[in-house]
């Protein structure tokens, strides 16, 4: 099956629903007829612009039905969809334009066009409304263009870039559909299911679940940027949404303001909260248990898409879920998780040396498998050997320090000259003196070789200031470089 054959099925079944928040803060329903009709228009417009099979078309969109329409139009006519974050730097777009020979850059709204028009030629940027205006003069085909085969490239996915450079992965129609449809089997989504889209849509995690919702006929609601995370969830009464630990923490923080309403929502809806991207901080488990909030962790990556998922029917506490395709997953002799990514491959201009060997993606995650459930125990890159020859895992130290209410985030690393270093982002309760005491307390329980030697206190870690990726993962190297000259010795 390809995406275009899926769209043709929609033609017959007409079960898909989208909801988009309007200016009035209410949601308007957009059905399959609307979706298919708009896809036809965009396809006709792309064709008039001489877009052909294999051409790269870029989109810079917020989460919206317009993104879905463009995605469906581009990939079902055989072109390659390069979906980028509208928060991306203009220079990065220039670099992608050159590397991928982009034929068109489509932008979701005039404000997004305005963001990029400073550095890019505004003629290169075409907004969705502009396309619709131009469509008025184009004769629409009676049927959808369907030019794709399972082995054709569908999209170029960019990684969020926790390491030094962003990588880009080509996925075929077959890979994406295979993955999304297998995932859909894990859930009981139906046209009655309200799915809320919060995380950036170009992020592989959110995008793949968007396909899962579509294949299940769930009603997709796009979060309203005027509202808080909590308000979005309460307004939509979402049955399911994807989240990352950083936003889960924010949600729990916001829920204190409307505790009764939030508890009622959790009690009545029992929402399926799908979490990925990083480990859930230990200190959140108390809140989750107190409020009877179930979190279903999953594991995936831009390279391997969805690898495993916990669901109400297939659940193991502490695991990252049941493995979708057990034959495509293995653990190497060092304990590293490897995933076979089949026909997917990296774009040669975006370096990824040695990360795929004979089709097996080297995840750098340390994991073990128990009864087809995946358990993660750390990152390979987070294990270091100290001067005494001892192997220590920074994530274990971080987890212990994060248990303190003083600490919002902490990054631990090993420097050959300075030893174990910790960089703290503090909560409102934290201050330099309290952190010094925290470290002294931590050190007093350990022998010399395992003690924290240096620390720094950072300002807030945000996506915009560069400490976090758009998927809210910590950019370790960035933070280390930023604060390495501000380290204070622990006396």
């Amino acid at each position: 099956m390809t995406f275009s054959s899926f769209l043709n099925l929609l033609f017959q079944n007409k079960v898909l629903n989208f909801s988009q928040s309007s200016v009035e803060r209410s949601y308007k329903n957009l059905n399959t007829d609307f979706y298919i009709n708009e896809v036809r228009k965009i396809q006709a417009w792309l064709k008039a612009r001489n877009i052909k099979e294999g051409d790269h078309v870029c989109t810079l969109f917020e989460n919206s039905i317009e993104w879905n329409i463009c995605d469906a139009a581009i990939i079902s006519m055989g072109a390659i969809h390069v979906s980028l974050s509208p928060t991306i730097d203009s220079n990065k777009v220039k670099s992608v334009t050159k590397s991928c020979d982009l034929k068109l850059i489509l932008v979701g709204t005039p404000i997004i066009k305005e963001l990029f028009a400073f550095k890019l030629d505004s003629d290169e940027l075409i907004s969705f409304n502009q396309i619709l205006e131009e469509c008025a003069a184009i004769e629409l085909p009676k049927e959808l263009l369907s030019r794709c085969e399972p082995n054709m490239i569908s999209s170029l996915f960019f990684t969020s870039g926790t390491s030094s450079s962003t990588k880009a992965v080509y996925h075929t129609h077959g890979t994406i559909l295979d993955n999304a449809m297998k995932t859909a089997e894990y859930y009981n989504f139906s046209p009655d299911t309200i799915a809320l889209s919060i995380l950036p849509i170009h992020y592989a995690f959110e995008r793949m679940y968007n396909y899962v919702y579509q294949f299940s006929g769930a009603s997709i609601h796009y979060a309203n940027p005027q509202l808080s995370l909590l308000e979005n969830i309460l307004v939509t009464q979402a049955d399911v949404f994807c989240i990352v630990p950083k936003l889960l923490e924010e949600l729990l923080h916001q829920s204190k303001e409307e505790e009764t309403t939030f508890k009622e929502y959790i009690k009545n809806k029992k929402p399926l909260i799908i979490c990925s991207g990083a480990a859930i901080p230990n200190h959140l488990y108390g809140f989750l248990e107190r409020d009877n909030i179930d979190i279903y962790e999953m594991y995936g990556s831009t390279e391997a898409l969805i690898v495993s998922a916990n669901t109400p029917e297939r659940y193991r506490k502490g695991s990252s879920g049941h493995i979708l395709f057990p034959e495509r997953v293995k653990i190497d002799t060092t304990g590293q998780l490897q995933v076979n990514i089949g026909s997917s491959y990296y774009h040669s201009n975006f370096g990824a040396n040695g990360e795929v060997k004979d089709g097996w993606f080297q995840t750098k995650d340390i994991a073990y498998i128990e009864n087809e459930f995946l358990h993660l125990s750390g990152r390979e890159s987070e294990t270091f050997k100290n001067k005494e020859g001892l192997f220590l895992n920074s994530s274990e130290i971080e987890a212990e320090l994060k248990a303190s209410p003083l600490v919002k985030n902490v990054l631990v690393y090993y420097d050959t000259n300075q030893g174990i270093c910790a960089i703290f982002e503090l909560t409102q309760m934290g201050n330099k003196r309290a952190v010094t005491e925290l470290i002294k307390g931590y050190n007093s329980k350990r022998d010399y070789s395992k003690r924290i030697n240096y620390y720094a206190i950072s300002s807030s870690w945000t996506v915009e200031s560069g400490e976090m990726t758009i998927s809210f993962k910590v950019k370790r190297n960035f933070i280390i470089q930023k604060y390495k000259n501000e380290l204070i010795a622990v006396n």
Partner: protein
């Protein structure tokens, strides 16, 4: 435009106009718009640069609670620059 006496209503219109939210006012929670939606943060940053020529550090955003706090941060930056 560089004007240290920025009209509050004009400020809300310039910086938050893209949200099409006619009810937004000074006491509204600023953080709630930016903590989960980095596009909002990027647009607000861009609008402030465009309207007032002021480049606020993104790290400051996380220290601001209300729309009024943001307004004050812009005023302070303009005053410090003069």
């Amino acid at each position: 435009m560089k004007n240290k006496n920025i009209d509050p209503i004009h400020f809300i219109h310039e910086v938050f106009g893209f949200l099409n939210d006619s009810k937004l006012n000074f006491s509204d929670n600023f953080k709630k718009l930016t903590t989960w939606n980095s596009l909002n943060a990027v647009i607000i940053h861009h609008k402030i640069v465009q309207a007032y020529g002021v480049e606020l550090n993104y790290e400051i955003f996380n220290t601001l609670e209300t729309v009024e706090d943001l307004y004050q941060a812009v005023i302070n930056k303009l005053n410090n620059a003069s």
